[in-house]
């Protein structure tokens, strides 16, 4: 949900009227009354669309609204820029939550971080539930259970959260990332950093990673294979923004693992970090279970909604004036970078570039 | 070895380790008060000063010096104890809590 009862307050403070589609909050545990109490108006999907000047979505629908209406939400314009084109053609305004820059000021609107955080947590629960072993060490009268060994590949927001959660459950955790700056961050959670020597620097602009060369990738894989054999659980979260997820775990690496081991591939949606991964499915290969869950945050609907709603409300607050009028200020980095389409044009240069080659 | 020296050495042999033992484990809380107390006590030289100042046999120079010494050591005694006392008053609460 892009709006939760609590965020209705926030929105109303920005002097806007709030319409909610009836029944939309059910999954996340909110009833229509919860919203009504906070002063939101309820209606059918069509009614809502009819009333609203600004549409807040989790995932922006492929069909654009009418001219002049603003839509805000996830729309992944770098993967599929056609949606930008459609909105531009319809004369609607489109903001992409993915494109909110990762500056300090924008952190409270950074929905990617919020969702990644939830995904990292949930990935560990999935792994723990699937693993035929327990995570924590236990010295019992029936023998000593050694702690499970967990490797987290890709220590962005999701990866770090996965590390923290695994450690909480008592596993012995190590983490790996191409960006060496992350070593300190991994260690700051009490986990071990897996040192894999790379031939080149992997950190791009703005804190994101960039694509690696073939050679570097091969070296990385060889060393990784050795580490992976000793793990009970591997959680992969590696991503390069706007690109297909890097392939980090090959089929051979999976085969080398002990039967009973579990891999959770959080990058499944973007092609997966693991060769075996099938998005949305659970594959068992030579005793190793590979989970490719998609839209993981949706499995923790309550908190995912709350966080997203808060992000989007803050975002909105930043783009409207005190008296509730939309105010698209292109001097504001946040607005500029997240604005995809407006007044019939695709405005974002990165998307423009893609549209050129794409359409 | 004269008897007097012998006695003095005995006294020394006992007094020095006693001083060391007494202070060895003092709480850091009391470092400053203790410093100021030993300061006051070191004015025991007032004993020597009085003996010189009041001596019948001493030359006038010595007597005068003795009187000055009495003044000085009295300053030390009075100031030393008063400071120590003031300082400890600040700890009163803590004492009470014991």
């Amino acid at each position: 949900m892009a709006v939760v009862p609590r965020s209705v307050d926030l929105l109303k403070k920005s002097q806007v009227e709030v319409w909610i589609e009836r029944g939309a909050g059910f999954e996340a545990g909110f009833t229509d009354e919860d919203y009504a109490v906070k002063g939101a108006s309820l209606g059918s999907a069509a009614e809502v669309r009819g009333h609203a000047q600004i549409l807040l979505h989790v995932r922006v629908p492929y069909d654009p609204p009418e001219k002049g209406v603003v839509a805000i939400g996830f729309c992944d314009p770098l993967t599929d820029p056609s949606i930008a084109l459609r909105y531009a053609q319809a004369g609607a305004t489109l903001f992409s939550m993915e494109m909110v820059p990762r500056t300090t000021r924008a952190q409270s609107m950074d929905a990617l971080s919020s969702m990644a955080s939830i995904a990292g947590y949930k990935a560990v629960l999935l792994a723990a539930t699937t693993l035929p072993k327990m995570f924590p060490m236990m010295t019992t009268a029936a023998g000593t259970i050694p702690p499970a060994r967990v490797l987290v590949i890709g220590a962005g927001v999701a990866g770090l959260q996965a590390i923290a959660t695994s450690r909480r459950l008592g596993a012995v955790v190590s983490g790996y990332d191409v960006r060496t700056a992350v070593k300190e961050q991994i260690e700051s959670l009490g986990a071990k950093f897996v040192n894999i020597t790379l031939a080149e620097k992997a950190e791009g602009e703005g804190g994101y990673a960039r694509t690696l060369s073939e050679d570097a990738i091969r070296g990385q894989r060889e060393q990784m294979a050795l580490v992976m054999r000793e793990q009970d659980v591997v959680i992969t979260t590696a991503a390069v923004p706007g690109k297909k997820a890097p392939l980090l775990v090959t089929r051979e690496m999976v085969h080398a693992m002990q039967p009973g081991s579990v891999i959770v591939d959080l990058a499944a949606e973007r092609g997966g970090n693991c060769e075996v991964t099938v998005a949305g499915e659970t594959v068992v290969e030579r005793g190793v279970t590979v989970l490719g869950p998609t839209n993981v945050p949706a499995t923790v609907p309550r908190h995912a909604s709350e966080m997203y709603a808060r992000n989007i409300a803050t975002f909105l607050k930043n783009t409207i004036t005190k008296d509730g009028q939309l105010n698209i200020d292109l001097n504001d980095e946040i607005v500029r970078e997240s604005l995809i389409a407006r007044d019939g044009e695709v405005t974002n240069p990165r998307v423009q570039a893609l549209v050129g080659t794409h359409v | 070895m004269s008897n007097e020296i012998e006695v003095s050495l005995y006294v020394l042999v006992l007094a020095v380790p006693l001083g060391l033992e007494l202070v060895r484990r003092v709480s850091p809380l009391l470092h400053t008060p203790l410093m100021s107390l030993t300061n006051a006590i070191s004015a025991i030289s007032v004993v020597g000063a009085i003996l010189i100042a009041g001596s019948g046999t001493a030359p006038t120079l010595s007597k005068v010096l003795g009187c000055v010494a009495v003044t000085c050591s009295t300053i030390n005694i009075v100031a030393g104890f008063l400071i120590t006392d003031r300082m400890l008053k600040m700890f009163r609460k803590k004492e009470g809590s014991k």
């Binding site: 300190e184 700051s188 | 060391l20 202070v23 709480s27 100021s36 300061n39 070191s42 010096l65 003044t71």
Partner: protein
């Protein structure tokens, strides 16, 4: 009255000696400390009365006048100085005491020609007495900042001092050999006075309390020597007890301050210390030690702790819990302010503080706790930087402009633990550090917090 009085003054001396021993013993424990002061006063009173009763003492008038004058100077000195000036006051008072000992030695020297053992004792008394006098005056000067507090050193200092010392020794030897008063004596005195000055010059102001304890010890030794010269056992006992306890006290104080004793005494002769002070320069920050921090924390009523990424890097959460426990036990109200983006992932601080089992109800969100900073005696920032940077409020050019921050600068005292003046994630300088009410605590968060905890029971 002779025989009876004789018995009386000896008994008084014995009581005085016992009182002095008990005085020091009692002062070594907080529970009995005040009793210790009374015992000390009692001891000195008995020593004085006993002395006055001795048959050698013929005239009282001048003595009583002298004592009255002394009391008239000493009492206001002690009462009028502010309590913060205790160290310099002690130094000053001590200068008088040492001077008295030196004068007694001088007077005795001129009263009656001494030889051999007695002259040796006298020489020791005199050299220690004068040396301690000027040294105490110097210490007073440094503490009062009349004299520059920084260590004053110059090339060849060692050589100069050592040769001076050798020269004094030689003069002393001569005096023992040739005890009749002559020019040697004033020269000897002069050297002692000079040596006292040179001894203190290279020692920094911060080490002065230790030095004063040591000077106490010297004065005690002087009294002890005086006792040998005057064949007075009370002086020997009191002097010796004083000398040894003063000595061990200065050693203990050095340890407590994490300084090497020999360094305090001699180290400054080398050059080591000077360099460290110079660098940091530019905008000045106030840095402080763990002991200072402990003192500040112990006297606070409300402390708000702001953890940041540095706490995570240092894995200081367990030590932080120790600190929290220790402070809470002392009745300090300790709260945690968690900034939404402290650390490097959402909930970074939470997971670590939970690991250390810091109760959830101690953790507060930014919005909830921000108003409380104004009432906090101390905001203790541990490895946080950007999230407490006031630039976010007003510096529109700053990359963090617009981010809500924790209002630590509203607290009475701000203490920041970090390793250096390096910036945080956003890569920008933090004006908080240069505030007047900010103390920088440089060091790794884990070990620094550990040191604070250690220093805590000691702090007032």
């Amino acid at each position: 009255m002779t025989e009876a009085a004789g018995g009386v003054w000896q008994a008084a001396y014995i009581v005085a000696a016992l009182s002095i021993v008990l005085s020091i013993k009692w002062l070594s424990s907080p529970v009995t400390a005040r009793r210790g002061v009374f015992a000390g006063e009692f001891g000195l009173l008995f020593a004085i009365i006993g002395t006055l009763l001795r048959q050698e003492v013929l005239s009282y008038e001048w003595i009583l006048v002298a004592m009255a004058v002394g009391a008239a100077i000493g009492a206001p000195l002690a009462y009028l100085m502010p309590m913060t000036a205790v160290p310099q006051l002690t130094a000053l008072s001590h200068a008088f005491g040492a001077f008295a000992a030196a004068l007694v030695g001088t007077a005795e020297y001129y009263r009656e020609p001494a030889t051999g053992f007695k002259m040796t004792a006298l020489a020791i008394e005199i050299v220690l007495g004068y040396l301690t006098t000027t040294a105490s005056v110097m210490a007073f000067g440094k503490l009062q900042e009349i004299i520059p507090t920084r260590p004053m050193t110059y090339r060849g200092q060692n050589v100069v001092n050592l040769s001076l010392f050798a020269f004094a020794l030689a003069l002393g030897g001569w005096m023992i050999y040739q005890p009749a008063p002559n020019w040697v004596f004033p020269a000897f005195v002069g050297l002692a006075l000079l040596f006292g000055v040179l001894l203190i010059m290279p020692i920094g102001g911060g080490d002065m309390p230790t030095v004063i304890a040591l000077l106490n010890s010297y004065a005690g030794a002087a009294c002890c020597a005086m006792g040998f010269a005057l064949e007075n056992r009370l002086l020997i006992i009191a002097g010796a007890v004083n000398a040894s306890s003063g000595f061990i006290l200065s050693v203990i104080m050095c340890k407590a301050m994490n300084r090497s004793f020999t360094n305090v005494l001699f180290g400054a002769f080398g050059q080591v210390q000077a360099g460290a002070a110079a660098k940091t320069a530019a905008k000045p920050v106030k840095s402080a030690t763990a002991e200072d921090a402990a003192q500040v924390l112990a006297s606070a009523r409300k402390v708000i702790i702001v953890p940041g990424y540095g706490m995570a890097v240092a894995q200081a959460q367990h030590k932080l819990r120790e600190l929290t426990d220790a402070l809470t036990k002392r009745g300090v109200d300790v709260e945690f302010a968690i900034h939404p983006v402290a650390g490097r992932m959402p909930g970074h601080m939470n997971v670590l503080l939970a690991e250390a089992d810091i109760p959830y109800d101690r953790l507060h969100e930014m919005e909830d706790i921000n108003p409380d900073f104004a009432e906090a005696d101390v905001a203790l920032v541990i490895g946080a930087n950007d999230v407490v940077n006031p630039a976010a409020r007003h510096d529109t050019t700053s990359p963090i402009y617009g981010m809500p921050i924790l209002d630590v600068d509203k607290a009475q005292t701000v203490m920041v633990i970090k390793r250096s003046m390096n910036p945080g994630f956003a890569g920008i300088d933090n004006e908080l550090y240069y505030m007047d009410r900010t103390l920088m605590l440089f060091g790794d968060a884990k070990s620094f917090v550990g040191e604070i905890v250690k220093a805590l029971p000691a702090a007032g």
